[in-house]
Symmetry: C2
Subunit: 133 residues, 2 copies
DNA sequence: CTCTGTGCAAAGCGTTTGCAAACGA
DNA sequence: TCGTTTGCAAACGCTTTGCACAGAG
């Protein structure tokens, strides 16, 4: 019994080999697109179907086990759900990194000026990473 | 000669009636999806094609005349390009509002901890607007 | 054993392309 | 007039669905 079996079950998802491998790919990559996930999965399951990928991604999204990250001008990637965090993308090499930023004061300013009761935030920064500079 | 004729030409876009109306719809709505834009356009041009909408949206994006706003769990909307700003969305009525927030300190923190040279930011907040509370 | 998941093929849907006619400058 | 844009129809690519078989619990 693999590491991820229990965590899948906690989200009411049966621990099939395909799902364990999707989970592993998400964990290992941090963020992965459908296309890249399919490539990774093909290495372990030579006859896996894209339909299986999509069905599982959708079930995992519904279960809030994973989340979609929509990046400006890029295709979406998926990540395992964790504490709220921001993302930073390198416009040269495409690296996507999680970054913990304190948005409290920004959010309280926003709440004040908009009169919204703010519940969520999604911040995506982009620029050039150390290596690409 | 309409208000928007000159601004379209400045972006190397001929001022066709369809483009003037797309511009007007963007201006009036603030943010609009392809689907809603098509509905609006149909009222003025009863035989307009979706292909025309897409071609123009893509040309306008290339010309940086408009920008796409990717919203978590929602379909994308488009807006006329203006100074950098954030967005706040009501999770009840769907209202999308521009909001000017100072992200300088957040960005400098991010730059410091990531070693990225940060060029752009996209912040989307969501919650409940005054009316829906 | 039962119910769910998988893989395949087909269908669906939003978006793009090719082309002839219409139009802007 | 000349090059661009429009509208239509067909093509495309990504995603979803239906179904029979395989597999998890």
């Amino acid at each position: 019994m693999n590491n991820y079996t229990e965590i899948l079950r906690q989200h009411n998802l049966k621990a099939t080999p395909q799902r364990l491998e999707i989970t592993n790919a998400l964990y290992t990559s941090g963020h992965i697109s459908i296309e890249n996930l399919y490539d990774v999965m093909l290495k372990k399951f030579n006859s896996i179907s894209l339909a299986t990928i999509y069905k599982n991604i959708n079930l995992m999204l519904e279960a809030s086990f994973i989340q979609e990250v929509k990046i400006p001008n890029e295709k979406s990637v998926y990540e395992l759900t964790k504490e709220t965090h921001s993302h930073i993308i390198c416009d040269s090499c495409g690296e996507i990194r999680d970054i913990e930023l304190n948005l409290d004061s920004v959010i309280s300013n926003a709440a004040q000026s908009s009169n919204y009761n703010i519940k969520k935030s999604a911040l995506i920064l982009s620029g050039t990473c150390k290596n690409c500079q």
